[in-house]
């Protein structure tokens, strides 16, 4: 990509536009958080190499998601330490993603909602009780393991995992509520 061409400029604009949604999509395929950025980066590299095969005017995001699905599928065939949570789970999520891809409208709608979801999430985070905010900070921003958080909170890892589960469910409800209010 040493030459600056209109194609390159267009491609990098697409990277900027699609990167956040693509990373979310890859996580939704059951990829480990620490590997999401790697696979997203690989997806863009593959897309760049095969750019001639992309039909302009069609949905670039959907094309990226197809590449990402194939990369994750390849990941399941690899020997050694894999980058997905568990093979059987990733296979299930992949089949769900394949199914959604056959109804492009659903997938595109989800992708388009992402910006609104991010804005709603920020609002919802501000409303969390202090302890919940601290857990989000520790888990997602400081990337601490459940065991380490549990040690600081003087409880056990399983308890922290359950609290995080409820916290994510509460955030999801809050986001949905906000999106409904916005649309109405």
């Amino acid at each position: 990509m040493s030459k600056k061409t209109p194609d390159n400029d267009w491609f990098m604009q697409q990277v900027e536009l699609e990167q956040s949604g693509l990373r979310g999509f890859i996580r939704m395929l059951g990829v480990r958080p620490e590997s999401v950025d790697d696979i997203a980066q690989e997806t863009f590299v593959v897309a760049y190499k095969k750019l001639a095969m992309f039909e302009r005017g069609t949905n670039f995001g959907a094309w990226l998601r197809t590449i990402a699905r194939n990369l994750v599928r390849n990941e399941l065939r690899r020997q050694g330490r894999r980058r997905v949570l568990a093979n059987e789970v990733a296979e299930f999520l992949l089949s769900r993603a394949d199914e959604k891809a056959s109804h492009p409208g659903v997938e595109v709608e989800q992708a388009e909602q992402r910006d609104q979801q991010v804005a709603a999430l920020r609002d919802c985070l501000r409303q969390l009780p202090e302890r919940s905010r601290r857990l989000v900070q520790q888990r997602y921003f400081e990337q601490l393991s459940l065991g380490v958080i549990a040690a600081y909170e003087n409880t056990n890892a399983n308890n922290i995992s359950q609290i995080l589960f409820r916290l994510r469910a509460a955030l999801s409800n809050c986001i949905q509520e906000r999106l409904r209010t916005t649309h109405s």
Binding site: M1, S2, M12, E16, Q19, S20, R23, G24, R27, M28, P33, E34, V36, D37, Q41, E42, V45, G80, L85, E88, V89, F92, R96, Q117, V118, L121, R122, C124, L125, L128, P129, S132, V136, Q137, R139, Y140, E142, Q143, L144, S145, G147, V148, A150, A151, Y152, N154, A157, N158, S161, I163, L164, F165, R166, L167, R168, A169, A170, L171, S172, I175
Partner: protein, 516 residues
């Protein structure tokens, strides 16, 4: 919004067991059986699918908020494309040349001399091994862990590395019931893929290929892909692997030290029950005393040619007091060099020279302390350690920030820098541009202070006074990286230097090309 109450009526439909398993899976720390349970639930209950997707979706949004900003990610993609499309082979070679450590001379004997090696093994070493086994038996009986019902089966091991001992040669394939190592270090590979790094003086025996009884000595265990459940039995308790690399060190006085380098283990103690230990945690325990935090663990330094084998530093500890905090500092004797791991809780982050510069010669071979990034948030943090001789203490402080008072007061900025490299985009790397390999590096100024005699030294928090923090919101606080520490022994000065009172540590730094 109350996040601690049940979120919605979906939880009534899906069993709590399912919620727990989904939660642990999304958090990346499933227990055995969780995956199968969740897969079954996903196949049978649409509610479970909705719940799982909801959890992953919010997890993805939160990761996105905490992850790299868009510019950093786009730059990393640009660099990756550049590297892939320009000269991939060249890039790979250069990368390998930079990141590969000293050449590995551990070769296996060629097929032609393999049988000769094995023959000489049995003729030359049989007597010593039999003798050692007798000693082991006596020791095990005395130590109270010998169980006549579990004399054990011979386990096939392959010697992968041997150093400082004539009893094991690289490439040997041995059927071992007992393992006695009076001197040196040996790495053994089991058929299951489990790798045992044994450090003398060591006495142990196999009950079967997945269960080792350790009577005395240190064994570092890497269970690999297929060794899940490998167990080390000690006089104080059992350490059961849950997919990991860990170390067990049994001392002659009955104390056992357990450290986890990756993954997790379950520690079973008769008095206090089972405890899970995670990556970066270490405890010490005895038969009658429950596990308690072990502050530092010596990390084996395999570098050939180090003249000094014992650490100058000892007694590394901190003031982080919480009942279940079990994080250990890595202490690597003579371990400071280009490419060495910088922090215990960041596996990929390495100390490295600045581009175009050689690694600072004065740092090479210093004792290295590997601290934790998570401590960078603590304004009250204190770390203490003791030096056993006259030493120069080095602190590597984030060069993007002004030094905290304790550092500016007690140390001198040498004017030189090193990098902590290999960062993934993170809150600590915000604003940095990726390097030629698509990773991020934080510059650290090298500060130093000389101690002319053995002393105990306390370092302060890495964070700055509150007015210096660039805090835009509580989720986006930009803080300096945790600092690094290395200690290099120095020749003691003449006996009549200065007028310090005996026993009083030297407080002022000796200027070293002083420059701020």
């Amino acid at each position: 919004m109350n996040a601690s109450s049940q979120p919605d009526d979906r939880s009534n439909v899906t069993a709590p067991r399912c919620e727990e398993a989904i939660g642990r899976l999304v958090d990346g720390e499933p227990l055995p059986g969780d995956v199968a349970f969740v897969v079954e639930a996903l196949r049978q209950h649409p509610e479970a699918v909705a719940q799982f997707e909801q959890q992953l979706s919010i997890d993805a949004l939160l990761l996105d908020q905490a992850g790299p900003d868009a510019d950093a990610f786009v730059d990393s993609v640009r660099v990756a494309i550049e590297a892939e499309t320009s000269q991939p082979a060249f890039v790979q070679k250069v990368r390998a040349a930079i990141f590969t450590t000293a050449p590995n001379h551990r070769g296996k004997p060629s097929p032609s001399n393999q049988s000769a090696t094995n023959q000489s093994l049995w003729s030359g070493r049989a007597i010593r091994i039999v003798l050692a086994c007798s000693l082991l038996l006596a020791s095990l009986v005395a130590g109270g862990i010998w169980n006549a019902a579990a004399i054990g089966e011979p386990v096939l091991v392959e010697v992968d590395r041997s150093e400082g001992t004539a009893d094991f040669a690289v490439g040997d394939r041995l059927n071992l019931r007992t393992l006695v190592l009076p001197e040196g270090n040996v790495d053994l590979k089991l058929g299951s893929g489990v790798r045992l790094e044994c450090q003398a003086p060591l006495m142990a025996r196999f009950e079967h290929p997945m269960r080792l009884h350790l009577s005395r000595g240190r064994v570092d265990v890497d269970v690999g892909e297929d060794g899940f459940g490998f167990t080390v039995v000690t006089p104080a308790g059992e350490v059961v692997d849950l997919g990991t690399k860990f170390s067990v060190n049994a001392s002659a006085d009955g104390e056992v030290r357990v450290a986890v380098f990756s993954g997790q283990v379950e520690l079973r103690h008769k008095q206090s029950g089972a405890v899970n230990l995670f990556d970066g945690e270490a405890v010490r325990l005895t038969k009658s005393q429950a596990p308690r935090r072990l502050h530092s663990v010596e990390i084996r330094n395999r570098r050939v040619g180090d003249s000094r084998q014992t650490a100058v530093i000892s007694g590394v500890s901190d003031n982080v007091e919480a009942p279940k905090v079990r994080r250990f500092y890595g202490l690597v004797p003579c371990g400071m060099r280009d490419g060495v791991r910088a922090f215990r809780d960041r596996r990929e982050t390495r100390w490295q020279a600045e581009p175009g510069d050689a690694f600072p010669e004065e740092l090479v071979g210093a004792d290295l302390i590997q601290p934790f990034q998570q401590h960078r948030f603590r304004q009250d943090f204190r770390m203490t350690f003791t030096t056993s001789q006259a030493s120069r203490i080095y602190v590597f402080y984030d060069a993007r920030y002004s030094p905290p008072d304790w550092l500016a007061r007690d140390f001198v900025n040498t004017g030189r820098r090193i990098l902590s490299s290999g960062w993934s985009p993170n809150t600590v790397t915000r604003g940095l541009q990726p390097d030629a390999w698509g990773t991020l590096a934080i510059p650290h100024n090298i500060w130093c202070r000389d101690l002319i005699q053995p002393a105990t030294i306390t370092l302060g928090p890495p964070v700055l006074p509150e007015h210096d923090l660039n805090t835009t919101s509580e989720f986006e606080a930009v803080l300096p990286s945790m600092y690094g520490i290395a200690v290099q022994p120095i020749a003691p000065p003449p006996a009549n230097i200065g007028s310090k009172q005996p026993g009083q540590p030297r407080a002022k730094a000796i200027p070293v090309a002083a420059k701020k």
